[in-house]
Amino acid sequence: MTYALVLNGCSKTYPDQAKALTGFRDAFLAGFPQGKTIIIFNEEEKKQSLINASATVLVELIKVERYQPETVLTALQNLEHESCRDFYLFPGDQAGSELSVRFASRMGGSSLANIYSLEAGAGSPVCRRAAYNNYLEAEFSLDRKPYCLSLQKGFSAHTGKEKPKPPEMKVIEHNAKELNSNKAGTGINGTGAPDDSFVLDYKYTESDETTNLESARFILAAGRGVKNRSGLEKVEKTAAAIGAEVGVSRPVAMNAWAPLSKLIGVSGHMTGPELCITAGISGAAAFYAGIEKSACIAAINTDPGAPIIRSSDLAIIDDYEPVLEELERLIMENKRIEGEDR
């Protein structure tokens, strides 16, 4: 069995992608020696650090002007169509998920997005991922090579020891323009796949919202129960005072009480703090998946029947506001005493 890890070096999340794919490879494809890494990149200066993060000896670089899915797909297709690998693994973000599905379709293979496990042996590979909004786990058997898989968002594997870096790497460089110039991509209808000429102009604006949710050790998560923007602002003040990072559920982000960058859950951040306090959150599985790795979950909800109660370690059935007020007072008092002791 052969495999390729496909990484998006144009993205800021490259280190996380590399870590997740390496972890997945070590956990589920460790027995397969013939792996390579394909890195899409656009900045020459970053090339070496991208290569250094690769987990395989063979690295193929595809240089693009910018990350444009149509260009990237056709370049991948042209690079791989003659010596197709058995497995292609893609990161668990929007771009990785898109590539896995579209690439498989072009290569006549099978694809699955958002997987978290793989059994690859002699027969058909078997993968698992969530279904039914994260309430159920679905298992699939894949029938056609190449198997193109994207990882679950926030996938991390604890494989024990880290593998030593490959002694020396073999790097092959390509340019998307050259790859795509002589061979037109072919779709399943037999006609040419689209290129990026449908884009007449573009502008990218980096968001100035920052969040440390994924590395936060203490999170205060607020849900629809905070009722409105000023409810959320209060929670934000409390969080700032007690040293917690604020996260929100989907309704809070959808109502624009908080930016989308604060969203926790399958379509937001996958977190793993030491302590997560939830306020006015029902605990829908799509949200819960984002706090599942918390060491301790303390829920505050007025409804004893809310699912979050059963999914938390500690729960208070009450209005979140007076509970948070008192918690803030206690934590601040403790901080003051500790400050005086020092």
């Binding site: 898109e98 379709s105 006549g108 958002n114 039914y132 909004n133 679905a138 449908f198 303390a298 509970v323």
Partner: protein, 276 residues
């Protein structure tokens, strides 16, 4: 601009009682007794389309909106609401096939409808829907049509020179916003798009537009699409089981909210917070 917005009606799975996730030997799950809803990502796609329509109408741009769903009669109330919201055509592809984990079929039907029956310039739909959670339909649709695709779309509007049938598309990429002027045809996929809950039609519009009959097409009439779908796919569902989210759920009792907070803090949180 001819826009085809596709959506799915799904059970509100968050209303399922925890113990009721029973999977039968054909991997079916009885969800019929919880109320249904528009798949949230599709709901955003439908609203994003309406916002485009508001602007196009103001600019006197040619516009035709079609809403399409694949499924049973229960979708018809949603289709009528879309008529009331000024969609020009509401179509249901009638099917009782179990396509929960066969996004290839949904994509084949949609692409055939778009290319042959509707001649759409733009296709817009949610990236994923609960139940199958396949996250493939818009992507496969783009592949079957050989159209480009933009994911993470949060808004569309007519490009400044609207007469040229160009579109301005805003999408979320990584941690920023990408704004592109694009030339259709293309497929747009919507995920989380803040502030795009579907508007409610006015009573007047309900009376005036909401009574039009839904166009029903039989799935079996989509032969070429289905044939194409049979050559793709390649994943078979072989298991389905509940995920256990249970923790201890220790309920902290007290006379008042403040007392509960004190118990929580002193007995459980102080030490934990001290180690952070």
């Amino acid at each position: 601009m001819q826009i085809l917005a596709c959506f799915k009606v799904v059970p509100d799975l968050d209303q399922m009682p925890a113990g009721d996730w029973l999977v039968d030997d054909r991997f079916r799950v009885e969800t019929g007794y919880v109320k249904n809803m528009l798949n949230p990502y599709d709901e955003s796609a439908l609203e994003i389309t309406l916002r485009y329509a508001d602007q196009a109408r103001r600019g006197n741009l040619p516009l035709n909106l079609t809403a399409l769903t694949i499924g049973s009669k229960q979708a018809d109330t949603y289709l009528k609401t879309l008529y009331a919201l000024r969609y020009d055509k509401a179509v249901r592809v009638a099917s009782d096939r179990d396509i929960r984990f066969l996004p290839e079929i949904a994509a084949a039907v949609i692409s055939e409808y778009a290319a042959e029956k509707n001649r759409a310039d733009v296709l817009i739909m949610g990236m994923q829907s609960g139940v199958g959670d396949n996250a493939k339909t818009p992507l496969l649709t783009a592949e079957y049509l050989n159209w480009p695709c933009i994911t993470g779309v949060v808004a569309i509007e007519p490009a400044n020179n609207g007469t040229k049938n160009l579109l301005k598309v805003k999408s979320m990429v990584d941690s920023g916003i990408l704004e592109q002027t694009v030339r259709p045809p293309l497929v747009l996929a919507v995920s989380n798009a803040p502030g795009t809950y579907l508007r409610v039609p006015t009573l007047k519009d309900k009376v005036e537009y909401g009574k039009k009959p839904v166009e029903v097409q039989e799935m079996d009439n989509f032969k070429t699409g289905l044939a194409a779908a049979n050559t793709s796919g390649g994943c078979r569902l072989t298991g389905l089981k509940p995920i256990n989210h249970r923790r201890e759920g220790l309920i902290i009792d007290g006379e008042t909210a403040a007392e509960k907070a004190r118990i929580l803090y002193h007995s459980y949180l102080r030490e934990r917070l001290g180690k952070l």
